[in-house]
């Protein structure tokens, strides 16, 4: 016990290396201002699903006596694998990509409060919600 207290005192009073003047500071300020974020928002993945869904929706709107459910059913029967890819796999991928991305952003942004976080991840939230809606409509 006494030994631990001594060790703690030693750590407290130990001299630490300190940083004085930093020449790279000014150069860095400019580099930060021009740095670009290369990560891409994953709208792309959902684009194909939305395109097909909107096309089916338009068909429902403009062709008399058509319903979205019937059009979807027809599409699923005619192009089984394609419909699974478009309405299940792609939205599923979008969800799988955006949920971890939101968690990463939460950590990177210094664990902000919910309102602050929502301001920066709103697009990810929208993508996840749209993906869920697409899957829900299909199922």
């Amino acid at each position: 016990m006494e030994e631990m207290q001594e060790f703690e005192e030693r750590l407290k009073h130990m001299e630490k290396p300190m940083v004085d003047e930093l020449k790279h500071q000014d150069v860095l300020a400019n580099a930060i201002a021009e740095a670009r974020n290369r990560s891409l928002v994953s709208w792309w993945w959902l684009g194909v699903s939305l395109y097909v869904l909107v096309a089916l929706f338009m068909k429902t709107l403009f062709v008399p006596h058509e319903t979205l459910t019937r059009n979807l059913h027809e599409f699923a029967t005619r192009d089984g694998w394609l419909s699974i890819l478009v309405f299940l796999i792609l939205p599923g991928l979008s969800i799988a990509m955006n949920l971890p991305a939101m968690l990463r952003i939460y950590r990177e942004a210094g664990k902000p409060q919910a309102s602050g976080l929502l301001r920066i991840v709103w697009l990810n939230v929208v993508i996840v919600l749209v993906s869920i809606i697409v899957i829900f409509i299909y199922l």
Binding site: M14, E15, P17, H24, L28, N30, I32, G110, G116
Partner: protein, 183 residues
């Protein structure tokens, strides 16, 4: 200028972020340096910290935490990524010219910082022992004994409760003591 005033200014004019940079770059760089012991990596992590702060400044709402604590939080996360080898470098995202001049000015700083480090042999030995411990112990011990932060600040930076902090420090100290005896 208070933190909320500064924040409002930055939200209106991102150029005002230079005030934050001037005020906090040195302490953040020092914190990272005393965790990694490596000049180039520290500059890169500190740079990434401020890049993320600028990028996510709109998420910061100044409720309960100060700007300084928020920057320490981001730096701590970057350090965790560094120790887990899961981070990208800011130098990958700037143009070649900027990266070149940054490396050149960093070379000038390196000699002076390394000399300062070599003057503190005891610290180097403790840091080497500390680096063998799990990251959760490194964080609390570094913030408490290297950065001389109080319990409230450490809890705010790490987002943990005081009871958890005390137990982490107690267990971490014991482990560090054992490691220091082995070194």
């Amino acid at each position: 200028m208070t933190d909320p005033e500064l924040l409002e200014r930055i939200k209106a004019d991102p150029g005002a972020f230079s005030v934050v940079f001037k005020e906090y770059y040195k302490p953040i760089f020092g914190y990272v340096l005393r965790r990694t012991g490596k000049v180039d990596d520290s500059a890169d992590i500190a740079a990434e910290t401020f890049y993320k702060a600028l990028k996510y400044i709109n998420a910061f709402t100044y409720k309960g935490v100060s700007l300084k604590v928020w920057l320490y939080r981001i730096a701590t996360n970057e350090l965790n990524m560094y120790f887990r080898k899961k981070r990208s470098s800011l130098l990958d995202r700037v143009d070649i010219e900027s990266a070149g001049s940054l490396r050149a000015s960093l070379n000038e700083d390196r000699k002076q910082i390394e000399e300062e480090f070599h003057r503190h042999e005891e610290f180097q030995a403790v840091l080497a022992a500390l680096k063998t411990l799990p990251i959760k112990y490194q964080e609390v011990i570094s913030l408490r004994y290297f950065e001389e932060k109080d319990n409230g600040e450490i809890c705010a930076i790490l987002g943990i409760k005081e009871g958890t902090l005390k137990s982490l420090i107690s267990r971490g100290l014991r482990k560090l003591h054992e490691m220091c005896n082995q070194f």
